[in-house]
């Protein structure tokens, strides 16, 4: 597979190779068994997208990696450290950051407080000027209540706040959901730029056209398992299969 990303990502992906290794990951919400043995890898500096229908287990996969699903088994290795039994606050401190589907903007915090909320976990996060450079809207609205922002601005805030923390592995859960095409484009540019900066990104997307503009590789999730995987170069050849998987 042409993982050119590693070549362009000098600073943060210096180690190259495997940054995340998920093996036989199973997870439960209460009594319901959601993940039935997920296996995949992410290499440093890559953008990897999990595709799949609603309810396939994509979000649960991200949440299990982040440690916020109560019951999970199998193995999740981040930089060769197994984190399957680690609590989410410690996982965050290893350099993994999560941007949830519902965005999780806090209504009792203003935009500045929302932006500064996640503590810096290690050196190397983007400085604020650079974040405002990526998301100029936010700078204008620092004193607004977090949830008074538009959907697009909230999404930008949700991404922006995890960029300053020094986490180099970002998990974005459907960042384009419910947004206008022009905003989706802006988020696409942002992801491309983050990749250039050396961030590794694990993306969950329903919007397959959007994913194809940013991803290096894809995995298809169905019924709590990874059923297929291919690189961006192999995308055209896999189009038919993909349409069947996703039912589009």
């Amino acid at each position: 597979m042409p993982e050119t990303a590693t070549a362009e990502a000098p600073a943060k992906a210096a180690t190259g190779g495997n940054i995340l290794q998920v093996r036989n990951l199973e997870a439960w919400y209460g009594e319901s068994h959601i993940l039935h043995g997920i296996n995949f890898d992410v290499n440093a500096g890559e953008v990897v997208t999990l595709l799949g229908r609603n309810g396939a287990g994509k979000t649960t996969t991200l949440k299990s990696i982040m440690g916020i699903i109560g019951k999970r088994t199998g193995s999740v290795k981040f930089n060769n450290q197994d984190i399957i039994r680690t609590t989410s606050d410690k996982i965050a401190r290893l350099g993994i950051a999560f941007c949830p589907e519902e965005r999780g903007i806090f209504s009792t915090l203003d935009v500045r407080e929302n932006l500064l909320l996640p503590p810096v976990v290690r050196a190397g996060g983007l400085p604020l000027e650079q974040i405002f450079d990526l998301f100029p809207n936010l700078k204008e609205r620092l004193t607004s209540q977090g949830t008074k922002l538009s959907g697009g601005e909230q999404q930008m805030l949700a991404i922006a706040r995890i960029l300053r923390t020094g986490a180099s592995f970002l998990m974005l859960d459907e960042p384009t959901e419910g947004l206008a095409p022009v905003i989706i484009q802006q988020i696409g540019h942002t992801i491309a730029r983050l990749k250039k900066e050396g961030f590794t990104i694990l993306l969950v997307e329903q919007n397959f056209r959007f994913a194809s503009t940013v991803a290096d590789r894809y995995y298809v999730v169905e019924h709590g398992k990874i059923i297929d995987g291919f690189s961006n170069a192999e995308l055209a050849a896999n189009m038919d299969k993909l349409h069947t998987y996703l039912g589009v």
């Binding site: 440690g67 909320l117 503590p119």
Partner: protein, 287 residues
């Protein structure tokens, strides 16, 4: 007129205790989602710790203001770690019953050793005496209680609404899972928050010791009114609980002057009215 001012002052003093206690309840409810029925017992413990410090250790009032909230706060944090934390995610009723049980046990233990009558706690020398304000005579200690409580309430408000630590608290009140996924040790923060709320109750206990005497049931009598205050003000709001606390103290005081027969019930009448008109309380958010 003198009598009116005197009742206003009594109202302000009671209001100080209402504010300190309902503020602690609001902080605890926000973070732990627990209606802390043990609050009155912990307030009583604050007064007793001050009493012990003075009579057993010779440690004066000023040190007690600092030490008693810390000791009772630590006791509260032990309660949280060993019992309350297991109630996360359960119905409010469980927390209410557990803390009610804790209150009964704590009060029972103190009653067993100290009976029901009060023990005196002297006003510290520096705060003895009074001032003639022209229109009324102000005992210095009572003025101190009002001002000091107000300062503590505003400092707590500032801590929660204006600082970075407060931003963590507010965010964790909204979405503890996500805050934890940002790398913040939320369970530890919850324990410390309970300690803070309990510490405020103990501080109120120390403040009240020279006024109301130190009695095992001093909190049980007060806490019922404080819960009415909290219902009126609404559980969710910090500033709301402070303002409502002082305001209801004053309203009670005024009622004592204008219609003394109703002074014990006025708070509850207001509570009923508020519940009928705005069940979430005057400043509260929907739970």
């Amino acid at each position: 007129m003198q009598a009116l001012y005197a009742q206003l002052l009594v109202g302000l003093i009671n209001g100080s205790f209402y504010a300190l206690l309902s503020l602690g309840l609001a902080v605890i409810f926000g973070m732990l989602n627990i209606i802390n029925f043990a609050h009155g017992a912990l307030y009583m413990m604050g007064a007793f710790v001050a009493y012990f410090l003075l009579n057993l250790g010779g440690i004066n009032y000023w040190w007690a203001l600092l030490i008693a909230p810390i000791i009772v706060g630590i006791f509260g944090m032990i309660l949280e770690r060993t019992m309350l934390q297991w109630l996360t995610g359960l119905d409010h009723l469980y927390g209410l019953l557990l803390t009610f049980g804790i209150a009964l046990i704590v009060q029972g233990v103190f009653q067993n050793y100290f009976g029901s009558s009060g023990m005196p706690y002297a006003i510290p020398d520096q705060l003895k005496g009074g001032m003639n304000l022209g229109f009324m005579f102000l005992p210095v200690y009572r003025g101190w209680v009002v001002i000091f409580s107000l300062v503590v309430c505003l400092a707590t408000w500032f801590l929660i609404e204006k600082t970075r630590l407060g931003a963590y608290l507010r965010a964790a009140t909204e979405n503890p899972t996500l805050v934890r996924a940002f790398g913040i040790n939320v369970p530890r923060m919850i324990t410390l928050t309970y300690g803070l709320g309990v510490g405020l109750a103990a501080l109120a206990g120390v403040l009240s010791a020279p006024i109301n005497q130190v009695r095992p049931l001093m909190g049980a009598d007060l806490i019922i009114v404080v819960f009415a205050v909290v219902v009126i003000g609404g559980m969710g709001s910090i500033m709301g609980s402070i303002i409502t606390g002082f305001a209801l103290g004053v309203i009670e005081g005024l009622t004592k002057y204008f219609y003394p027969e109703a002074s014990n019930t006025v708070v509850f009448v207001l509570m009923v009215l508020v519940l009928l008109v705005k069940p979430t309380g005057l400043t509260g958010r929907a739970a």
